[in-house]
Structures are given as C-alpha cells and as structure tokens.
Symmetry: C2
Subunit: 154 residues, 2 copies
C-alpha cells in the first residue's frame, strides 16, 4: 500500500469535488454534478497558473484518496519570512483511519521546508476537534483565533 503524491490536473476535478463534498461541513457548500461545475475547473486553473500555489493529491493503488492545498505566502513580518498556508485537507471516507492524512500533511510540510518557509499555518473550524488533535500530534500549536468575514450575504 504505497502512497504517492502529485499535483492535481483537470482530470482529477470530479474526484476532488467528491472529497470536498464528503465532509460534515462541505456537504452543504459544494455542488456535485457530472461533469463538475465549471467553477471548480476555473479554481484549479488559477492554482496551476500560480507558481506559489499547489493542489496536491495522494494516490493509493492508482486511486485519488486525499487532497490538500499548499500556498507559499511572502511578506515582511519576521524579517521577510516566507510562510506556507495549508487549506482544504480532505481524505476520502473510504480511506480514512489509515494514516493517509498524516502522510499527506507531512508531505506538505516537507514541501514547505524545501520551499524555504519558516512556518506552516492553517485554520480549522472550531467544531473539528478531532482535526485539532490530529494537527497537534504533527507539531502544530493552536495559538491563534481564525476569523472570517462572509462577503456573499448581501
């Protein structure tokens, strides 16, 4: 059971959307259709066009079983430190409990380190307490409050 990692391509969009929707919070937010909604392809194209942005897939036996996004952020704070942002970590429900999520996050952390990042950051909904424990086991510290402003309401 070897897990391999690669950048997402347009042919992967249906599998990625299925994973995004197969989640307690994602189910209400995503649109699952065949073919997938064009907005998902546009999102992937924007990521692929940005050299600082990576949508990474984990494959097991030739099948996509997890995804996550890694974005390098440049800035002046902390003496011009580069930071890496992890977003949208999802493991297919059929593949959960086998350590794939931890392997995927470890792969992203290695990518961040190779890319010169001084820090990796992420936010996780306060209701995802199991995810918080998962990230703490990987060395993350929950030092910050994550705040969001919805612009779609009005």
């Amino acid at each position: 059971m070897t897990i391999t990692f690669r950048e997402a391509e347009p042919r992967d969009v249906a599998a990625i959307v299925a994973m995004l929707a197969d989640d307690m919070l994602g189910a209400a937010r995503e649109t699952v259709s065949d073919p997938p909604d064009p907005r998902y392809f546009a999102g992937l194209e924007a990521i692929r066009a940005n050299p600082h942005d990576h949508l990474i897939l984990a494959e097991q036996d030739g099948e996509v079983v997890a995804c996550a996004q890694l974005t390098f952020l440049h800035g002046l704070s902390r003496q011009g430190a580069v930071r890496a942002l992890i977003e949208g970590v999802r493991v297919a429900s059929s593949a959960r409990g086998g350590g794939i999520g931890a392997e995927l996050v470890a792969h992203l952390v290695a990518m961040a380190r190779e890319g010169g990042a001084a820090m990796v950051q992420l936010t996780s909904d306060k209701s995802r307490t199991r995810a918080h424990a998962f990230y703490e086991r990987l060395g993350f510290k929950g030092t910050h409050l994550g705040m969001k402003l919805d612009l779609t309401g009005g």
Copy 2:
C-alpha cells in the same frame, strides 16, 4: 485629516519595518536597522511580483501611518470560491486610537469584494483580545482555530 491608501514601494520599507517592530509581539521578531535588512526588501519584491498579493499603506498628511497585506487565494472549496487573506495589520503607535485601523481594514475588505472574493479571513494571536473585539465590530466571526508549525527550530 484625510487618509489615503496606496501600494507599498521600496522607499517605504523602513517605515513598514518600524511599524512591524513597534508591537508587543513584533518587537522580538524584527530587526530594525538603517538601511533596513535586505530580507525586508526581498519580501516586498516578492509581493510586488505576485498579481494576487498587495501590501497596502495608509497615509495621513503625507506620512505612512498603517500597513496591511491582502492576498487573494484561489481554490476549489465552496464551488471554486476566491478568498482574501489579511495579514500583518499594523498602525503606527503615534496614530493609534483615531480609527485608522478600521478605515484600513474596510479598504482591504472593499478591495477583496472588488476582486471577487467570497470571504475575507485572518488569524490573530490569542493574546490580542482587543484586536479580536476590533475585528468583531467590523463583522468578522471567530469561528476557527489558527494553528502554526514553526520550521525554524531545528
């Protein structure tokens, strides 16, 4: 007392570093020198080279009094929604208490909306309780835990 906003340029680096260092958490993290450390200029150049990234300054009477960074993030989640990330909001100590921070954040939120973002997100150190109340007054909701992994330790 009109406040104007513009993108940061290399000539602003010293003023920006002074604001980053003039902060309870930033004081220990930054290096203040004349001329500024080259890493700060490199950080600004990386922002200026990225069309999704903006370091915005607030000016009052021709003087830089606040800064903040706005980065557009593309993704597949939420039907390919674009999000905007706010980082490094700092107001010069001499200019605090006059509402400049709120005007600056409102300007960034307007930029995010014009750029097609569905959401604005930020994280704030848990110790910055006054900042949390400030963002709540602007409509942000503290729904997430912000987690960080330091890669500089070993």
